[in-house]
C-alpha cells in the first residue's frame, strides 16, 4: 500500500512517500496510524497526537474509522492551512 505524507507529518516521518505491507488486522485509517506510530521514533513523533493528523484515501478526505481495504494511496497530513 502506498502512503504519502505532507507538511510536518512528512518532515517528522522523514520521507514524502513509501510503500508498506500493512499487517492483517489493521483495517481502518485510525488503526493504520496507530500501527505506523509503532514503526520507530520518527513515526511515533509524527503520530503522537492522532486526533490532529488528517487522512485521505485515494485523494478524498476520510474519517479515522474508514476502512482501508482496496485503497491504492493513503495520505496523512496536518489540518489544512491554505487560502
Amino acid at each position: 500500500m502506498k502512503l504519502v505524507y505532507f507538511a510536518w507529518v512528512r518532515e517528522r516521518v522523514g520521507k514524502p512517500e513509501e510503500t508498506v505491507d500493512v499487517p492483517a488486522g489493521v483495517t481502518t485509517v485510525a488503526e493504520l496510524a496507530g500501527w505506523l506510530a509503532t514503526r520507530g521514533e520518527e513515526y511515533a513523533y509524527a503520530f503522537e497526537n492522532p486526533d490532529v493528523v488528517r487522512a485521505a484515501i485515494d485523494k478524498r478526505h476520510v474519517r479515522p474509522d474508514t476502512p482501508i481495504a482496496g485503497a491504492a494511496e493513503i495520505a496523512f497530513f496536518p489540518p489544512m492551512t491554505g487560502g
Binding site: 505532507f6 507538511a7 478526505h61 497530513f77 496536518p78 492551512t81 491554505g82 487560502g83
Partner: protein, 153 residues
Amino acid sequence: MDCPVTVRVQAEDFDLAAEVAALTRGRTDVGAVVTFAGLCRGEAGTLAALELEHYPGMAEEEMGRVARQAAERWPLQGVTAIHRHGRIAPGENIVLVVTASAHRAAAFAAAEFLMDYLKTEAPFWKKEHRADGTSGGWVEAKEADDRAKERWT
C-alpha cells in the same frame, strides 16, 4: 444552468483582471462579479516568504468539488478558483476566487462559501520563512476558519 467552473493550481502568479474578463467576455447576462484575492502578509517585516505545499491531484479535485457545490447552491454564471503553490513573498498573490452571477447577493455569498471551504478542505499547507533566516514553522490551522465553514451547513 450551465456554469463554467475553472480551477487551477499553479506556481506562477495570476492576473485578476484577465480572470474576470474570461468570465464575462462575450456575455450580457452577468450583472455581478465578485473577486477575492488572498495575499501574503509581511507580518511587519518579520516574514521573508511563505512556502505553500500541496497534495497534487487532490488539491485540484477538492477545489473543483467545492466550486461545483457553489454552482449548485447559487445561480452562478461562472466560477474560477486559483491557488498558487511554492515560495510566495510578502505582497504576492496566494489565492483567487471569482464568482459571476446576475445579481450581487449570489456572487458575494458564493465567493465567501468558496473561500471558507478552500481554507479548511483544500490540501494546502503554509510554512513560514522568517526574515532573520530561521524557519517560523508550519502555520497552525485556526478554529475560526472551521467555524466560518460551519455556518454554511
